[in-house]
Every structure is written in C-alpha cells, then in structure tokens.
C-alpha cells in the first residue's frame, strides 16, 4: 500500500498552443519542461539538437516553461521573452539564442537579443513590463508540476516521464524503446 507505482503522465496533451518542431504525425513526441537559466537545461540543449538531427521526421519536439524563479533570478523574464518572441512568430530562434547566451540573461541582454532577432523591441519591452506572458509561463509550470515534472529539465516521451539520464545515448535508447512499443502508447 505504501509503495504504489506512481503514474507520471503528461496531463496536458500537445496542442496548437505549444511550441512544436517536427511533424504532427511523428511516432515520437519529446516534451521538455525547462528553465533558460538552469545549467542542466543548458547542457541538454545541444543534446536535444543532436537528437532531432538523428531522428529526423520520427521525432516531434515540444518545449514548455518550468522556470525555477527562486534560485534563478532571470528565469522568469527569459521565459517571458521567449514567449514574446513567439508572439512575433520567432519562438525557436529566441529559444536557441537564450540557451547559447545562458551566461547573460539580465533584462538588458534579453532586449538585445530581441533586437538581434529583428523583433519589435518596443513591443517585447512593453509585454515584459506588463507581464503579458506571465500567465502562459505559469500555466506551463503548473501543467509540468501536475504531470510529475520533478526538476529541470524534465522530459516526457510519448506522454510518460523519462526518469533516466538525459545524455544523448540514454535519451536515444528511451526514444527507440518507446517507438518499438508502437503507436498504442502514443498520445
């Protein structure tokens, strides 16, 4: 009774509100809950890129926000700036840039990146000040926590939490195993 297998399933299915790379009908979906200031997420970033390259059209990748704001002072604004870029159709370029420039995520730097990506910087500034994307980030955070996300990064493969290492070989093996398990588990 005290040791029941806890089901750790994604409670919020991937939908059009998500930031998605890869075909909608890919047999594998990898969802990452991450924090732009988290060093482990920084380490996972090139690994996810390598995975996407390796797996091609078999993989759909989704990123959701899980900023740990108490230990990472810039994590919330970084997440909101990525969403602000998303509102201008440039989520992924900003997402990539934030992980590449993890060493400088203060507000001034964030706005520099917005300029670098040729975004409407005034709009980004205003949306950051108004907290326009705060609720979206909070929503991501809560769906992550309620799905059993237990730190950053947390990965879900076809809706199930991946508890192993996030090194390339480990993730690759877990993805291939899920693919072998067939479409029955696909969500």
């Amino acid at each position: 009774m005290s040791r029941h297998a806890q089901e750790t399933r994604l409670i919020e299915p991937v939908s059009e509100r998500d930031h998605v790379i890869g075909p909608a009908d890919a047999p594998l979906t990898l969802v990452e809950y991450g924090d732009y200031q988290c060093p482990y997420c920084g380490r996972a970033f090139p690994i996810v890129q390598a995975l996407r390259k390796r797996m091609g059209a078999r993989l759909r990748f989704v990123f959701r926000n899980l900023p740990l704001t108490q230990i990472h002072e810039h994590a919330e604004h970084a997440a909101e700036v990525a969403e602000a870029a998303g509102a201008q159709g440039r989520f992924w370029p900003m997402h990539d840039l934030l992980f590449q420039r993890q060493f400088a995520l203060d507000d001034a730097s964030l706005l520099e990146y917005a300029a670098e990506l040729k975004l409407d910087v005034e709009r980004v500034t205003r949306e950051l000040a108004d907290g326009t994307h705060r609720e979206r980030v909070r929503h991501d955070f809560l769906t992550g926590v309620k799905s059993g996300a237990n730190g950053t990064p947390t990965f879900f493969i076809n809706g199930f939490r991946h508890d192993g290492s996030f090194e390339l070989e480990a993730l690759l093996a877990a993805l291939e195993q899920a693919e072998g398990a067939g479409h029955g588990v696909s969500r």
Binding site: S2, L68, V145, K146, G148, N150
Partner: protein, 159 residues
C-alpha cells in the same frame, strides 16, 4: 502493527528547525500538513526536490497547507542548505535521537542511516490521508501532493 499509515493519526513530534525554533506537528492542527522526508541535504536529487517544492509553495498555500521538510541532517547543515537554495519553508532536523521521527512513520532506512524519500499529507484533524514512498533515487515531484490536497476538498480555501 505498521505505523504512519493512511487513515491513522499522524504521530506527533517536536523537532528543531533550521532557524533555531522548535516545530511541533500538533501546532498545525486546523490546516493540512505536508511532510517531506528526504535522505540528505545537498545530494543532487534532494536539491531538486526541495527546490521544486519551494517553487510550488504558492500552490500548496492555496490549500492552506504547511510544508515541512525532514532529514537526519543537523540544524547547521539545514541552515546552510536553506540559505543556498533560498528555501521558504522549514527544514527539520531528525538528528537526535537520530531518525526517531522517521521510525515513527516507518520510513527509516537502518542500512543507510537516512530516511526514505517519502511524502505524507496530513489533514486538518491530524489524520494521514496520503502516504507515498518513492524509489530512493527518484524525485517524486509534487503531483501526488497536489492530488492529495485536492482530495481534501473541505480543507480547500477559496482561490
């Protein structure tokens, strides 16, 4: 008879906290309490688990719940860990006699000298409503706690 099970009254205790005060379980009667036993300060998984709970605190507070972290580490260790992770909830030292409270909840690991990574949700009347023992190396996250709090609907405060 096994102790610290669902449906039983939560064994009362008084333990020193990182801030130098002494915390008594019974003093929280009237609101739900979350007990999070974890093996040790500073080990990577624990760090994540307590850091995550720190971040989820506003959600726990929506249910009026009090979170207490418990390990066999001493108060000075807890103090350094609390400061480093900027924790906003008490860490209690089950240090002397070592693991005494953990034993009363049947979550002491004699072989390791630490506690199980285990969670308890206690209702406003002091009854254990949910108990979960996680594999020692798996951070159980917060979803089970939130579900258990949700099921104590009568204890829920207006959002």
């Amino acid at each position: 008879m096994s102790k610290g099970q669902e449906g039983q009254e939560a064994p009362d205790f008084t333990l020193p906290a990182a801030d130098g005060t002494r915390v008594t379980l019974r003093s929280f009667r009237g609101k739900p309490v979350i007990l999070a036993f974890y093996p040790a300060d500073w080990s990577p998984v624990c760090g994540d688990q307590m850091t995550l709970y720190n971040e989820v605190l506003p959600e726990f507070e929506r249910y009026g719940a009090q979170l207490l972290g418990i390990s066999v580490d001493g108060v000075w260790c807890h103090r350094a860990f609390t400061k480093d992770r900027r924790l906003k909830f008490p860490l209690l030292a089950d240090f002397e006699p070592k693991g005494d409270v953990a034993r009363r909840y049947d979550v002491y690991r004699s072989a390791d000298g630490t506690t199980e990574r285990s969670l308890f949700v206690i209702d406003a009347a002091g009854i254990i409503r949910w108990r979960y023992v996680s594999p020692i190396d798996v951070n159980p996250g917060a979803d089970g706690i939130l579900n258990a709090l949700e099921s104590l609907t009568d204890a829920r405060l207006p959002a």
